[in-house]
């Protein structure tokens, strides 16, 4: 199952994990040590992050390292996008209103054509 990226970053722990591994690759133990949470719980979060392609796991000797996928992250980290979406939502409503206004005007003044 391809997970929704937005769903993946909606969780504060997962956002924290992304922040950590975006700076440098880290092994699972090091990540887990930074959280007041069980190892399996952290593993589960990491699993979700790998499933949506935000991080990948690389085996290095006996250690498994988490590496951030910067290209995928850039897609999410486009910080203007939610702001743009908000305006898009408003302007779509404005489109509807303008259409309504146009119709009303035509009614009032008869068909202008």
């Amino acid at each position: 199952m391809r997970r929704d990226v937005f769903q993946a970053i909606a969780d504060p722990t997962r956002r924290e994990i992304i922040n950590m591994v975006a700076q440098q690759s880290m092994n699972l133990n090091t990540i887990a040590q930074n959280f007041d949470m069980s190892r399996p719980a952290i593993s589960q979060h990491i699993k979700i992050l790998t499933e949506c392609g935000l991080i990948i796991i690389k085996q290095q000797g006996r250690e498994r390292y988490c590496e951030a996928q910067l290209k995928q992250l850039a897609e999410v980290a486009d910080w203007i996008e939610p702001f743009r979406k908000m305006w898009e939502h408003q302007f779509n409503k404005l489109d509807d209103l303008l259409n309504q206004m146009k119709t009303n005007k035509t009614k009032k003044h008869g068909n202008k054509k």
Binding site: D4, W87, Q90, K93, L94, L98
Partner: protein, 161 residues
């Protein structure tokens, strides 16, 4: 043929302004009216899921306004400012402040320009100038936080399904 009017938002790194550009399939008198008449403004302004109410809105040069967005949980967010200039149908300039800021005085100035295009179309350009880069980025990121909350809502819906 109805093609979708693309919305462009530009916030260059290190600058303290942002631009919002969008075209509309309506003559500019109408777009201007929808922008400056509070009875019309409440019909479209505000983020998804928020209801807008106008406290006061004196849409003339030298006037002032205050409106409130309320979400479904009853949280309300108030905004106010003064109207510097209403030059129908081509320009409206006003200040804008979110009352919920922890510190007062973080005011931006918004200039909305309405340009008439062929075939009764209009191009709207809004320039918002903030006091600092941090102020601008803060406003843009508040959208980010909302986006993340919407992410949560989406997750809730997924879990319900």
């Amino acid at each position: 043929m109805a093609t979708k009017n693309e919305l462009k938002v530009t916030a260059e790194a290190g600058k303290q302004d942002l631009f919002i550009v969008r075209e509309f399939d309506a003559p500019r008198e109408l777009v201007f009216e929808a922008f400056t008449d509070p009875d019309l403004l409440v019909k479209w302004l505000g983020p998804e899921g928020m209801k807008m109410t106008v406290d006061y809105y004196d849409a003339r040069s030298g006037g002032s306004y205050r409106y409130i967005h309320t979400d479904e949980k009853g949280n309300s967010y108030a905004f106010r400012g003064v109207i510097h200039e209403i030059a129908a149908p081509e320009r409206a300039i006003q200040t804008f402040e979110f009352e919920g800021m922890p510190e007062k005085g973080h005011v931006s100035m918004d200039t909305a320009m309405f340009e008439a295009l062929p075939n009764d179309r209009t191009r709207l350009t809004i320039q918002s100038v903030f006091r600092s880069v941090a102020d601008r980025d803060g406003i843009v990121k508040s959208g980010m936080e909302r986006g993340l909350k919407e992410g949560f809502n989406k997750l809730d819906e997924l879990l319900k399904a």
